[in-house]
């Protein structure tokens, strides 16, 4: 039976392209078409919303800060896409084992994967930037431009944001290829990926600050190294529209040079990794990352300790869960960075007390967002069909095992946040303030951990997740209020009591008493439980009010 190679290559391309939408990282078992549409809407929304906001509220578009903001958004989202699909950036070991026995050439398989990536990235950039690229020149209220000039501005904006995004994407690809070529140093790769994810998410959240003219002017006058790429590609946009050639043309040339370097690095790394993969595919995989778990936190109760270690191992090794936690870390970093940034352009200039309060709030904000992130992450199951192990091992009443969640919170949220806060306080204000901060923040963080354990009857990662249960659409003001009160409100209170340490001691005693009371209530509630929850039914379609 004759087989034509063109349809085979097209099917290979389709296979790789489709596999992006059935990734277990995003939506295991989900419908690819629905996922594609949802993702497109999600990524197009910020550009559309911000353009409309600027138009409606009279902000002048196509000025440097706004153009810089859209460029920053594009340059952070593209590498984030690469980080989310980190394992699929290159042909995988599974691709090799499944596809190589078929009558297909290995370079052909690698080329099909690359083509799938080019198409995905192109579509992604189109979704993210299309609206803003058209809107920026069209609604410009300062210039009277029409016809070819508008088209030129649209093309310039598209080339600027597209070039910047591709540049950033290519460097992630180069990094991935290099790590793969040198045999997947998994610990390094995982740490790098999570750190980059958190940093990029923080950058996305902070990027609207660029639209503040004073911040933009400050950056443009003395661009720090991390902001240089932004100005290179802003140079592309402005050079193509014929603005201040002396300023922007050199930057545009620098952008071209940097794009070439990135393309060469990515091509070399991709090629080298693909060349190496056939040898690596049949070799045994490296053992999973072990620790260093904060094992000292593990309870002496074996069931609780087993659940605790399982939860930490899953958070560290599951791609989906570690990415989700990295996203929360990024949000935490963004909250701290944006509050620090707000100090720099506040008018009138902030008082020393206000500056102190923001610094004091940083560890509390970190603790809050990481703790909420952990609570969110562990609600999403891993290997759903393996939960029978937990169900059949339920040979004792539930309470003790459920406390593993509190151990995880203490180890991953409270301990690191408190340590960083105390070290920061020691460095800036000295031992006395550090001791007060330890007391004040420590007791508050313990109270938070105990509050988050309330009414939890699921073991980490072992119960199906029903999306929408948290009802964020309705409750987000309450969450925001709680976050603000816990971090910035409490920090302002702490700062105001520096002159009255007894107040801090009194407050801490109250917080400890509240923690003890909550702990007692939790113990009583858990004692009434018959078993842990391994099944979560969705809420009924029709709900009665006040039920």
């Amino acid at each position: 039976m004759a087989r034509d190679s063109a349809p085979v290559n097209a099917r290979l391309f389709q296979f790789f392209f489709r596999s992006f939408f059935i990734s277990d990282v995003l939506a295991p078992g989900g419908d690819p078409r629905t996922l594609g549409i949802t993702a497109a809407a999600f990524f197009a929304a910020p550009g559309i919303a911000i353009c409309l906001y600027m138009t409606i509220f009279g902000s002048r578009l196509n000025t440097n800060p706004e153009a810089a903001f859209f460029l920053a958004l594009s340059m952070t989202l593209a590498p984030l896409l690469a980080l989310v699909f980190w394992d699929e950036l290159l042909p995988t070991r599974l691709d090799y084992l499944v596809l190589r026995p078929l009558p297909l050439s290995w370079p052909g398989i690698a080329a099909a994967k690359l083509l799938a990536w080019i198409v995905l990235l192109g579509l992604f950039l189109l979704v993210v930037n299309a609206f803003s690229c058209v809107m920026l020149p069209l609604v410009n209220s300062s210039d009277q431009v029409a016809g070819a000039a508008v088209l030129r501005r649209i093309a310039a904006q598209a080339l600027g944001v597209g070039g910047g995004a591709v540049w950033a994407f290519l460097w992630v690809l180069a990094l991935r290829g290099t790590l793969a070529f040198f045999g997947e140093a998994r610990r390094v790769a995982m740490a790098l990926r999570l750190a980059l994810t958190a940093a990029l998410l923080a950058a996305i959240v902070v990027s609207p600050e660029l639209t503040e003219p004073s911040i933009y002017r400050h950056l443009a006058a003395h661009p720090p190294p991390w902001a240089l790429p932004l100005f290179w590609f802003l140079g592309v946009t402005h050079a193509l529209t014929g603005r201040a050639a002396a300023t922007w043309n050199p930057l545009a040339f620098a952008a071209g040079r940097q794009l070439t370097y990135a393309a060469v690095a990515a091509a070399l790394a991709y090629g080298a990794a693909c060349w190496r993969l056939p040898r690596q595919a049949l070799a045994p995989l490296a053992p999973p990352l072990r620790g260093p778990w904060p094992s000292a936190w593990a309870s002496r109760q074996p069931r609780r300790a087993a659940v605790y270690r399982f939860a930490l191992a899953t958070l560290a090794r599951s791609r989906r869960h570690s990415l989700l936690l990295a996203a929360w870390l990024g949000l935490a970093a963004a909250a701290v960075l944006s509050s620090l940034a707000s100090l720099s352009w506040a008018f009138p200039a902030p008082t020393i007390e206000q500056a102190d309060a923001v610094a004091l709030a940083a560890p509390l904000a970190l603790c809050f967002l990481i703790a909420i992130g952990i609570r969110h992450t562990i609600a999403i199951p891993t290997e759903a069909r393996a939960h029978w192990l937990f169900q059949l091992a339920e040979t004792e009443p539930a309470p003790e095992r459920l406390l593993a969640f509190r151990d995880v919170l203490l180890a991953l949220a409270v301990l690191p946040a408190l340590a960083s806060g105390v070290l920061l306080a020691l460095r800036i204000w000295g031992g006395r303030i550090a001791a007060l901060h330890l007391l004040f923040s420590g007791t508050l963080m313990l109270l938070l951990a105990e509050a988050l354990v309330c009414r939890v009857r699921k073991l980490p990662f072992t119960c199906p997740y029903v999306p929408g249960r948290a009802n964020l659409k309705f409750w987000w003001p309450a969450y925001w209020l709680a976050f603000s009160a816990f971090s910035f409100g409490a920090a302002a209170l702490e700062r105001s009591w520096w002159a009255h340490p007894l107040r801090i001691v009194g407050f801490s005693i109250l917080a400890l008493a509240a923690t003890a009371a909550l702990r007692g209530w939790n113990r009583h509630w858990r004692a009434s439980l018959d078993a842990c929850q391994f099944d979560d039914a969705p809420d009924p379609a029709v709900q009665q009010l006040f039920q």
């Binding site: 053992p287 072990r290 069931r303 659940v307 191992a313 899953t314 393996a386 192990l389 059949l392 040979t395």
Partner: protein, 257 residues
């Protein structure tokens, strides 16, 4: 209390379609019972009800003269289970999985470490103990499941296709393990498609057809009653299997078209 497993008229339906119908049998200490049936005959559903993952639609299951629903925790403490498919937490290593299984059952200390180390050595997994389960072959995963099922020294072992994917050496080893456990008074229910192994290992077989028990006896006695030479012939007769040679010829002809 004598550890005896008894099913009384156990039934299970899904969307009003009966899958298991009025199944009754009793297993005593030291018995290894083969639970046989064609695909879709209701074996796995029975097994899931036996381990408590699925409630019966009708009937009762007793262990040591107690309904297992009355005190499920006490029942689970005496139960070991190997599921039909090797669903494991594949991000854990082999040794971590066994430590998790032991920890969840409240086992701790050097005795457990010794048990885990010994089980890994006997199953030939010592070298890959630290590797992630995602890198294990099907047979290796099956060995981990068998080890995890036995760590807490259960009185009752419910095994759904426990030899699936095992190599010949491992099958011989597991057969000997079953015999050793039976000598210690453990009850073993061995649900399987592998008639050869069941014939050699099990002191008794229960054959299920369309959710009903159609035979429950020793292989020798069934063979004598039905005047058939082996378990394969008995099974084909009881479950009305189509002639496999004719079906094979039909399929080969179809592929040639």
């Amino acid at each position: 209390m004598i550890p005896e497993l008894e099913l009384r008229s156990v039934s299970r339906s899904f969307a009003r379609v009966p899958v298991v119908r009025e199944v009754s049998f009793r297993l005593g200490p030291g018995e290894i019972c083969g639970y046989l049936g064609a695909n879709g005959s209701g074996k796995t559903t029975t097994v899931r009800m036996l381990v408590g993952l699925l409630p019966p639609s009708g009937g009762d299951i007793f262990f040591a003269q107690k309904n297992i629903g009355a005190d499920p925790r006490a029942y689970r403490a005496r139960l070991g289970y190997v599921p039909e498919e090797a669903h494991l937490y594949t991000h854990l290593s082999g040794i971590e999985y066994l430590e998790l299984a032991a920890g969840l059952r409240g086992l701790t200390g050097s005795a457990v470490k010794k048990k885990i180390g010994g089980a890994l050595e006997i199953f030939g997994l010592t070298d890959s103990a630290e590797s992630a389960l995602e890198t294990y072959s099907k047979g290796m995963k099956q060995k981990i499941l068998l080890a995890a099922a036995m760590l807490h020294n259960p009185d009752l072992l419910i095994l759904d296709e426990p030899l699936s994917g095992l190599d010949v050496t491992a099958v011989l080893l597991v057969r000997s393990i079953f015999a050793a456990l039976a000598r210690r008074g453990k009850i073993i229910l061995h649900s399987s498609h592998d008639l050869g192994v069941v014939e050699k290992v099990c002191s008794r077989v229960i054959v299920l057809h369309k959710g009903r028990v159609v035979a429950d006896d020793s292989v020798a006695h069934l063979g004598a009653l039905m005047k058939l030479p082996n378990l394969e012939a008995i099974f084909s007769e009881l479950t009305h299997q189509a002639d496999p040679s004719a079906a094979a010829e039909d399929l080969a002809a179809l592929m040639e078209q």
